[in-house]
């Protein structure tokens, strides 16, 4: 299929449709509303379900109910809206049903603003709803990647009976790029052996997140933990740029990652041996490749559009063997390549320590911004 110019949010919506989305439940919020708007037209046209719920709470619980039937279902929202969905996400995780959620992140905390941000990394990857549950989190950096990961989200959610989230910042959602859509998948609903899709000539099934007996809940928790080991072993995805001989490794996901690519190219042109690792799955996180890169790198530079969240995961992988530095723009500010280039130059020239908190140096440098 030929490339077309797609806006990120609309591309995500169409990619979901082509991946066999059967029901969408959502509530409008900038900067993701185009997903809902596009599907409000597209889904009824195909005879599929679209519901604009009364709130995010309603939407996520509709997703929960529909997911129990084994249908391909999703919702989408932006940061404050996703916060409202967390209770429902925990129930979905506890019930072990597959569901897909897209978070087009904006500046926060609180009402914040509608500018691009990556501040919900921890919420998506480490936190979220109550209880002990893993979830898959994908972070596209371009419109094409968002299209490709949309289809993958459904596949992974179903394969592991788990929530698959796609987190992107508002600029990927609002940006237009040439991209190729996959063919429309025929709607052939899966027959899952757990789905509550009508007990006709079979035993009744029950789906629930209630385990009154702690010992039974522990068994359920351990089942999730073991399943997560499988996800970690098989589903890590990332993209490497100029890493072969890199002595400085920049790590950034989504938009911070692609902005870093411009900076890395500029630094290479100046003869600095720098490369970029752009995690595509931020959960499962690419710990192993960072562990391996620690052998060749003299320093890491983590770039994020937040106050240093993925930074913790990188430091966990590096385990204090080499310095890990940080450059972040929180609050809805998107970094420019020039400032990341300056950071690469600084890291290249500085005598760095593994014993200092990278946040301290970052805060000192940020005091001089503006």
């Amino acid at each position: 299929m030929a490339k077309e110019l797609w806006k990120g949010n609309e591309a995500i919506a169409e990619a979901a449709v082509r991946a066999g989305l059967q029901a969408y439940f959502g509530y409008p919020i900038t900067p993701q509303t185009e997903i809902l708007e596009y599907l409000s037209r597209r889904m009824p046209e195909l005879g599929r379900a679209f519901v604009q719920a009364e709130s995010e709470l309603g939407a996520i619980n509709m997703v929960y109910g529909a997911a129990c039937t084994g249908a391909r279902v999703m919702s989408s929202s932006s940061s404050p809206g996703v916060s409202l969905m967390l209770e429902g996400l925990s129930y979905i995780a506890g019930t072990e049903v597959p569901a897909v959620l897209v978070n087009v992140m904006r500046g926060g905390p609180g009402l914040g603003n509608i500018a691009p941000s990556q501040a919900d990394y921890n919420q998506a990857v480490h936190g979220g709803g109550h209880g002990d549950y893993p979830r898959i989190v994908l972070a596209p950096a371009s419109v094409q990647e968002a299209i490709d990961l949309m289809s993958l989200s459904f596949d992974l959610a179903e394969k592991y009976r788990m929530i698959a989230m796609m987190i992107l910042d508002g600029s990927v959602g609002q940006m237009m790029e040439p991209a190729e859509m996959p063919e429309m998948k025929p709607l052939t609903p899966h027959k899952f052996d757990w789905a509550t899709d009508g007990a006709i000539q079979r035993e009744r099934r029950i789906l629930s997140s209630i385990y009154i007996e702690p010992a039974a809940e522990e068994v359920a928790n351990l089942r999730l933990a073991n399943r997560w080991k499988e996800v970690q072993a098989n589903e890590v995805r990332y993209k490497e740029y100029f890493l072969d001989d890199a002595e400085i490794v920049v790590v950034g996901f989504g938009t911070a990652g692609r902005v870093s690519l411009s900076a890395v190219r500029a630094a290479r042109a100046q003869g600095i041996k720098v490369g970029l690792l752009r995690p595509i799955t931020v959960s499962p996180f690419p710990y192993e490749v960072i562990d391996q890169l620690t052998g060749q790198a003299k320093a890491f530079l983590v770039t994020e559009m937040n106050m240093g969240q993925m930074l913790s995961d990188v430091r966990l992988a590096v385990r204090g063997r080499v310095p890990v530095e940080f450059h972040g723009r929180p609050g809805g500010v998107v970094p420019f390549p020039d400032e990341i280039l300056r950071e690469i130059q600084r890291v290249n020239g500085a005598d760095l320590s593994v014993h200092t908190d990278p946040i301290d140096g970052w805060l000192t440098r940020m005091a001089e911004v503006k």
């Binding site: 500018a115 600029s171 940006m175 790029e177 411009s262 420019f336």
Partner: protein
């Protein structure tokens, strides 16, 4: 090759569409391209801008602080982007909407009376296409023909009757800017 372009003006001047037409032309000629709008609660009646990046490899940042090329369709945009351009860059200014000359000597500032040209063609809405035509004089990676084809290929069918006027607007803008460029000593 990578070129970054910022197109800025008032909401309603067709700033975003002008950028999209460029993006279509870049895509149709096999280039990598990103188009990103300023989006915010202040859109209505306020200023609008979009950034277009054209390259022949995977594009990193879709935003740029110091572009080599910019189009300012009104005075606030002229004020904002004149200082931002990279030295040696080219700024296309809609002369119809500004009341001052250029402040910088290290960039090419090309004044084009976009509104007047559009009005001569009988439709004020062609202002943005006049400006895009002028921009092409300094964006050699995309030809006038590429842009015409992009308009033809991607304009909704109900607007197809407007094509000849749009082509004319592009050509007039291009020719005006070319004449201004010819005056610049090499």
């Amino acid at each position: 090759m990578q070129k970054e372009i910022i197109i800025a003006g008032f909401g309603g001047q067709g700033v975003l569409f002008a950028g999209q037409v460029l993006a279509y032309a870049a895509m149709d000629t096999g280039k990598a391209v990103t188009w990103i709008p300023s989006y915010g609660p202040e859109m209505r009646g306020g200023t609008a801008n979009c950034t277009v990046v054209v390259a022949d490899e995977e594009i990193g940042s879709p935003l740029v602080q110091h572009p080599p090329l910019a189009v300012a369709l009104n005075l606030p945009s002229f004020d904002k982007y004149e200082g931002a351009l990279t030295p040696g860059g080219t700024l296309i200014v809609n002369q119809s909407m500004v009341d001052r000359g250029a402040k910088r000597a290290d960039i090419h500032t090309i004044f084009v009376p976009c509104n007047e040209i559009a009005e001569e063609l009988g439709d004020k809405k062609l202002t943005n296409m006049v400006a895009v035509g002028a921009l092409l004089s300094s964006l050699t990676e995309i030809g006038l023909k590429d842009l015409e084809k992009a308009l033809e290929g991607h304009l909704p069918a109900r607007h197809k009757h407007l094509l000849p006027k749009n082509f004319e607007a592009l050509r007039r803008g291009y020719e005006h800017a070319q004449k201004e460029l010819d005056k610049v000593p090499a």
